[in-house]
């Protein structure tokens, strides 16, 4: 199970004085939602996602002059993916160690499945069990609603690779969700 530590925020958090406040605000208003959804669907719990979202927009504030008009969304989502990656590296958790063939449910998993949770909670929980390169494509397509061409450009991979990873991500999603459901049903003494 991934342990998400605090997002690295050891840089000065202040907004540079030369930042265009109107443009920064417009970026925030327009894209706060998709940034949040990308972070959460990558498995960050709400408190960590809040730190990460703030970091994303502070990075944007610092780099505002370098962001070409019309590329704000792409920049923010790309930065969000960077922050997720850095968060995982910081947690010093090897990805392959978390890909368990038989899904064991933690208390947190049970809480997610038993209680009323947002759809994003459950999506993030399932995706946390899937190979990250596949999840990236899946999240960009299904959550950020990128086209395949945009995904290829964002990630710097061929279009065929996008299609392949998305197909594999969907199959993995199906598998993890199925195993999670079976495990829970067994624990509850229900027919499987």
């Amino acid at each position: 199970m991934l342990r998400h530590g605090a997002v690295a925020t050891d840089m000065d958090r202040s907004v540079p004085p030369q930042a265009d406040p109107a443009r920064l605000e417009q970026m925030f208003r327009a894209h706060q939602g998709v940034v949040w959804r990308v972070l959460r669907s990558r498995g960050l719990p709400p408190d960590v996602a809040a730190d990460a979202a703030q970091e994303v927009f502070l990075v944007a504030a610092q780099r505002l002059a370098d962001i070409r008009a019309g590329s704000e969304r792409s920049f923010l989502i790309g930065t969000a993916l960077h922050v997720v990656q850095a968060n995982r590296s910081r947690a010093r958790t090897r990805v392959e160690d978390t890909l368990e063939p038989d899904v064991e449910l933690s208390d947190d998993d049970r809480g997610t499945l038993d209680d009323r949770r947002s759809a994003l909670d459950l999506v993030g929980k399932v995706l946390s069990r899937i190979d990250p390169p596949l999840v990236e494509v899946f999240v960009l397509f299904e959550i950020a609603e990128y086209s395949a061409i945009e995904i290829a450009r964002q990630l710097g991979i061929p279009l065929g690779t996008v299609a392949s990873r998305l197909r594999r991500a969907r199959e993995a999603f199906r598998g993890v969700a199925h195993r999670m459901n079976l495990t829970l049903a067994r624990e509850q003494g229900q027919p499987t």
Partner: protein, 215 residues
């Protein structure tokens, strides 16, 4: 859930996930951090969905498991999907913004000295500076400037010897070496990286460079 597949429940569930907004307290926190005035009241997050926890409620999770993927997704579907406004070429190119997750690397290629290497940053690194250097190197590679990419990666290595994006920087260095024409060296470095980190998400990306026929 997917175009051409998935049950109605899955499509609705994912549709709800796409509409969820950050909690108001998170929005206010970021507003304060950015120094912008509080905005209009944020729409509440999407209504809670009842998660599947029992056989009865298990329909949700079960239906997710029974996705009608139906074989490979047609590339035509992906290409003809209605897309948000296209990302224009930016100084920071879209492909430079994202990076695959990485496993820690224990070694890496030697780097050339750079005349303008800045003093090393504190060991914990500065995330924003890391991102900036990695993005710049990726943009330089995309623009066909491997020498510039290597210079930026030298700077990264000097400033962030234990940076959180170090494995990505190492993989990008190998790519830059290859693009600069030194295929033999790139092949050796790629093989070394893959041998040390066979399960790294970066390994497939370097496999092409490590292939014997790569020249």
């Amino acid at each position: 859930m997917f175009e051409g597949g998935g049950t109605e429940l899955e499509r609705r569930w994912l549709s709800e996930a796409r509409t969820e907004e950050p909690p108001p307290e998170v929005v206010r926190r970021i507003e304060r951090a950015l120094g912008i005035a509080p905005g209009p009241a944020v729409a509440p997050a999407a209504p809670r969905v009842e998660a599947a926890a029992s056989a009865g409620k298990g329909a949700l999770v079960a239906s997710l498991a029974a996705l009608g993927v139906g074989g490979a997704i047609g590339l035509v579907l992906l290409l003809t999907r209605a897309a948000p406004p296209p990302a224009h070429d930016a100084t920071l190119t879209p492909e430079s913004a994202a990076a695959p997750t990485v496993a820690p690397a224990t070694g890496g290629p030697s780097h050339r000295a750079s005349d303008d290497v800045a003093p090393a940053a504190p060991a914990t690194g500065a995330l924003r500076d890391e991102i900036s250097l990695i993005d710049g190197a990726r943009a330089a590679l995309a623009a066909g400037s491997p020498a510039e990419a290597l210079a930026l990666l030298d700077r990264y290595r000097a400033r962030h010897p234990r940076g959180m994006l170090l494995p990505e920087a190492l993989a990008m260095r190998i790519e830059a070496i290859d693009r600069s024409g030194d295929h033999q060296r790139a092949r050796a470095l790629a093989r070394s990286f893959i041998a040390e980190h066979p399960h790294s998400p970066l390994a497939p990306r370097l496999a092409r460079l490590a292939a014997p026929q790569h020249k």
